[in-house]
Every structure is written in structure tokens, then in C-alpha cells.
Amino acid sequence: MGFNFYDFTALTHNIHVGLVEGFSPFMATTLEWVIVGTAYLLFVALFGLLLVYAERKVCAAFQQRLGPMRVGYWGLLQTIADFIKLLMKELIMPRKADRFLYNLAPFIVIIASFLAIAVIPFAPGLQSLDFDIGLFYLTSVSSVGVIGILLAGWSSNNKYSLIGAMRSGAQILSYELSVSLSLLTMIVFAGSMQFSTIVEGQRDGWYLFTGHIPSLVAFIVFLIAGTAETNRGPFDLAEAESELTAGFHTEYSGIKFAFFFLAEYINLFIISAVAATVFLGGWMPLHFGHLEAFNHAMDVIPPLVWFFLKVFGVIFIIMWFKWTFPRLRVDQILTLEWKYLLPINLINILLMAFIVLTKFHF
């Protein structure tokens, strides 16, 4: 079984064929589930740790510091040490908390992130779900997470948590609109909601470049709304530590807190991955129309590397936002959405439709 860095279709196909031949259909399906599930779990855990480390180092560099330096070479093992610490911590529950919902909330948050990650195309053949409504599915499952946040805030029986959860609810419900509309702009342009089609459509140039101004506007709006969607600064009202100590997860400790923490970073990854896929061509290498030599040089770099380069690029920009800007106030966050992003988005869709109709694109 040859291993191809450029196309994983053969690998996944071979595994599938091998399983179907070796086991009964039911067993084969179950085993496939287990393998895919384990792969995603591993990926999420490791990538979450990596992102936490990256965030600390990036933030340190913005602030002229060094960041974690003690555990491992350049502090590489710091997040693992932190994770072990979180695992061993006592799980504390407020006496008057709603036991069932309090325990349920972190799982809802993290399950929502897991559901969303399923449709992300990492490389050709490395995607577990390839619907024809992929983008639609993604926007709908990613908004399930807010239920977890609301539950966490309400059930902990803490006023700070409740305020944080309410802020988060208002914020995510509003920004869901902007995320969807900016993606809708690109759907109009791409003509499909299926991730594989969208990526394939960017073979000759990323949508960010081929879609003229509307796609650039959509990209900026998506970045802003996506940052808000992940509850990160400058939109981190739900856990604004200078106002609400820790917002909705004030009362959580140990592994349950780790779930919230991990979910935040996985959401960051999802938003960046969607941005990379829809606007920056996913795993597709950088191609410019007729520059054959350049295009071939770009093809040498494996798609998986392309994908992660783009994802990290977007993640870096979102981190840059967080470590530069002050936090918005709750009414300003809604003003920004309803008075600025929404009208811009609506006009943007019109423009995009006009461009698509007149075929005024590359």
C-alpha cells in the first residue's frame, strides 16, 4: 500500500476495501466509525494542545516576551503538563447548581465542535463527510455550541456565569447571520455548497482573488464574524475576565474546564479551516492562470501542507486581532453586527450575484 502525500484517496479507499473484504458489512462500518472517530479524537487533542502552545508563543511575541520556556525545549511540553494538571484537578460543583445540565454543558460544547470538524477537507481524500450541503451543515452544527454555553452559564447558578452566557447567546445568534451570509456570498460565486466542489473550483485561482471586491469584503466580514463566533478577543465578552472574572465557565474546573478550553481552540481551527477552504482554496496549491512553471513548482508542496499553512495563516490573523484590540461592549457588539456587517453583507451578496450573472470574473 503506497503512501501518497498528494492524494489520500487511494489510502482511504484501500482501507475501506480491506475492511469490507475482511469483515461483515456491519462490522466493517463499525470499524470504519471507530477508526475515523479515533483519528479525529487524536487530531483534536493534539491540535488543540498545539494551538494552545502556539497561542501562548504568539501572544508572547506580540508582547515582547518569550512565553513558556521551562517545560521541555522552548516550553514545548508546557501545554501537555497543563493538560495533565487539568486532568488531575478536583471537579468542583456549586452546591445549588443544576447537576444534570451542569455536567451536560461541556459535552454539548465539545460535541458541536466535533460535528463541525467532520466536513473539513484536509487533503484530497481526507474528509469524512462530503455532503452536497456541506457548508449548510457546518453553519448549523457550529451554532449548537451556544446551547452548551447557555446551559453552562445558567446551570452553574452564578451571576457572572449567567451574564456571560446571556452575552454569548446574543452575540453568537447575531453573528451566525453574518457568517452564513458571507458564506452565502461565496456559495453564490461557487455555485455549490459541497466542500469538494468548492475546493475543486479554485484550481485556477483562489476565490479570494477571482471574486473581485465582493469576495474580499466577504472574507473580511467572515474573519470578523468568525472571531465573534469563536468567542475570542476582541469579542470575548462571554468570558471577559476584567468584568466577569471568567464568564460562563467561572464555576468549572478540571477536565470540564478543559473541554471548554479545547472547544474554543477547535472552533478557532474550524473557522480558520472554513476560511481557508472557501476563500483560500483549501488544500489547493497557489495557482496563477497561465504561469505554468510557477504552478508546477507550487504543486510540489503536498496539499496537506498547503491546507495547514493557510489555516495557520488565518489563525495567526485572528490571534493578532485578539492581542491588539480592546474588547467591545455588549451593545456595541450588536451594533457592529446589525448596523455594519449585516447591511454590508446584503449589498455584497447583490454585488456578487451581479458579478456572477454578468460573468465578470476570472
Partner: protein, 377 residues
């Protein structure tokens, strides 16, 4: 459908309620152990009741048992960010009571030190202001620059924060030979960094949205509540004692009293930012002209104040600081009272934050620049 409507508009079942939140004593944005009982309606602040005294250290009582030079090391610990000014207030009060004229050199050194301390305090305030508004990076940039001032303090005074540098009759040591060069280096360095502060925070659209028109404190209220310092000057209350009752070398320098009439959080922010420029210019005027001479006059080994009452006011980074000493002719004061700026400023918070959001409360508290040991004493 009609049922749903009934439920939705039935005011009994949809009653809103006020609720109380204890912000503090352990809260990230109260800058110490201050507890505020905040009455909220949703996010809106209805009433704030500050509860203080968590780190009351009884300095006024302690002062009654110790001698005058020893008082100074306690005033360090009240408003630790304005330690020099607090010390100077006590030193000046004792000197005035004894009618001692300090050498010119002492006056210059004290003034430069005051302004350096004011800069350090405003830098820390700036970082914390950014942090309270959620821009964490400002904290590190501010502390980075503050470090240079603290190094200057450490080299000359021997300590970074609780310097205890002033004594009745002069200062504890002469300035270090490197002092002038270091201060000049710092002034040139900081002049390049201050515009960066503006780019990062002052000009930022989010920051302006968060501060403009928030926390209005009218001139009449500022006077009635006794809000002094930059917070009062942002309401148009001209109260800079460096201008009105100049002490030390302040009569010799030219500087502007920064007054703003916009009365809001942004005005308080900008007054402090402009004051940093004024402080730099005061230092520049003095640093090259420090006259030769003694760094202290010889005082008696046991300082006894004549019977009577003495009051001295100085301008610290937070506002007007007063020392009121009642002496009965012994070597210990009969009664010492400190008028601390933070105490009066704190209680105007309720007036300013009423009707705003919780996030604004944090921003307003930040611009008041409270130091809790200063309030509790």
C-alpha cells in the same frame, strides 16, 4: 396562539428583577481588594456601594507612635505608585513647621523624582486601563517602559517602589553619578514610545467607542465630591497644586495644567496622556540645571515639631494629597491625618457609573486610577 400571547405579555410572569453582584474583594479589575456591591438590572448598573477597609493598615495610628523621619517609610506604602510625592508631603510639612529652608539642589532632585514617579504611575495606569478594556498587550508595553524609571529609582534611591528617599531636610542620598544620563536617555526613549501608546489604544476605534461619553462627571459634581488630580481636571476642575500652591522647584519650571471640559472617560484618559508629555518637559527643563550643593541640611538627631497644627498639600499622580499633623511638641506627632486622593475619588464612582453597563463600570473605575491602600490607609 392567544395563550402564548397572554404568557408573553403577562407582566406577572415576565417580571424583571434587580440583582446584586459583589464585585470584589477578589476581582481582576478592582486593582486590589475593593468590594463593590453592584445593583444590576440585566447589564445596567443601578447603584454601586463601595465597601472598603479590606487592607486598612492603621497608618494614622501607627504614626502616633513613631518619630517624624519614620513616618515617611509608612507613606511609601499608602499610594505606592506615588511614593515620592507622599514622602515629599511629609518632609515638606516637617520642614515648614521647623522653618527649615532646604538647598536648591534638594528641590530640583525632589521635583525630578516626583515627575518620574508621576510618569511611572501614569504608565502603570495606562497598561491597566488597556487591560481592563481587554487589550492585554498594553500591559506589557507599559511595564516595559516603566522598568526604565524603576531602574533609575533603584540606582539612586536603593529601592524600586517603596523608595523612602525623602527625609525632613533633604533627601537620603545624593543622586547617583549616572542619574542625569539615565534620565535623559529615558526621556528621549519615552518620547519615541508615547506615540506608540496613542496608536495602540488612544486612536483605536473600539477604544474610543468604549470611552467617549461614558461616565460623565460634571464640574459641580467634581468639586462637590472633591475629585482631584487628572480625574478632576478632566471635568474642568482646575486643581493642580503644582500651579496653585507651588512647592519645591515647581515655581521655576514652565508647564501647562491640562484641563479638559468633556468630563467623560476619554477626557480623563487624554488628560493623563497629555500629562505624561508635560512631565517629560518638566524633567527636561530641570535635569541639566541641577545646582551644586548639599543634598540635605543638617537636622537635629531627634526632630521635635513646635506645638501646633501643620498642613501640607502636594499633587500626586492621583490628585491632591494632604498631610495634617497635630503636634504637642514631643518627638512623636499627636495626630496625623492623611488626605488621600483615592478616598475622595472613589465615592464619585456611583455618580459616574449609574446607568451604564458593567463593562463601562470597569472602564470608569480604571480612569479613576484607584490604588486601594491609598483609600484604606
Amino acid at each position: 396562539m392567544s395563550e402564548i400571547k397572554e404568557v408573553m405579555f403577562n407582566s406577572d410572569r415576565l417580571a424583571t428583577d434587580e440583582y446584586l453582584v459583589n464585585m470584589g474583594p477578589q476581582h481582576p479589575s478592582t486593582h486590589g481588594v475593593l468590594r463593590m456591591l453592584v445593583k444590576l438590572e440585566g447589564e445596567k448598573v443601578l447603584n454601586i456601594q463601595p465597601h472598603i477597609g479590606y487592607i486598612h493598615s492603621g497608618i494614622e495610628k501607627m504614626c502616633e507612635a513613631i518619630s517624624y523621619p519614620q513616618i515617611i517609610h509608612l507613606t511609601d506604602r499608602m499610594d505606592y505608585l506615588s511614593a515620592h510625592m507622599n514622602n515629599e508631603a511629609v518632609a515638606l510639612c516637617v520642614e515648614n513647621a521647623l522653618q527649615v529652608e532646604v538647598p536648591e539642589r534638594v528641590k530640583y532632585i525632589r521635583t525630578i523624582m516626583d515627575e518620574l514617579a508621576r510618569l511611572a504611575s501614569h504608565q502603570l495606569w495606562w497598561c491597566v486601563m488597556g487591560m481592563d478594556l481587554g487589550a492585554l498587550t498594553t500591559f506589557f508595553y507599559g511595564l516595559r517602559d516603566r522598568e526604565m524609571i524603576l531602574d533609575i529609582f533603584e540606582e539612586t534611591c536603593g529601592a524600586r517602589l517603596t523608595v523612602n528617599y525623602n527625609l525632613p531636610g533633604g533627601v537620603m542620598f545624593d543622586i547617583h553619578p549616572n542619574f542625569q544620563k539615565r534620565v535623559k536617555d529615558f526621556v528621549t526613549y519615552f518620547r519615541t514610545k508615547l506615540p506608540e501608546y496613542d496608536q495602540l489604544l488612544s486612536g483605536n476605534v473600539i477604544f474610543r467607542e468604549r470611552t467617549e461619553g461614558i461616565g460623565h462627571l460634571s464640574l459641580a459634581d467634581a468639586i462637590a465630591y472633591g475629585v482631584t488630580g487628572p480625574s478632576g481636571r478632566a471635568s474642568g476642575f482646575s486643581n493642580d497644586l503644582r500651579k496653585h500652591q507651588p512647592y519645591s522647584a515647581y515655581p521655576l519650571v514652565k508647564f501647562n495644567e491640562i484641563i479638559d471640559h468633556r468630563c467623560d472617560t476619554l477626557a480623563r484618559y487624554e488628560v493623563r496622556m497629555k500629562e505624561m508629555y508635560e512631565s517629560l518637559s518638566i524633567i527636561e527643563q530641570l535635569i541639566d540645571n541641577i545646582p551644586e550643593g548639599d543634598y540635605a541640611v543638617k537636622m537635629k538627631s531627634v526632630i521635635k515639631l513646635p506645638e501646633g497644627e501643620f498642613y501640607q498639600r502636594v499633587e500626586t499622580a492621583r490628585g491632591e494629597f494632604g498631610v495634617y499633623i497635630v503636634s504637642d511638641g514631643k518627638k512623636n506627632p499627636y495626630r496625623v491625618k492623611f488626605r488621600s486622593p483615592g478616598f475622595s475619588n472613589l465615592f464619585a464612582l456611583n455618580k459616574m457609573a449609574k446607568g451604564h453597563k458593567i463593562a463601562d463600570l470597569v472602564a470608569i473605575m480604571s480612569t479613576l486610577d484607584l490604588v486601594i491602600p491609598d483609600i484604606d490607609r
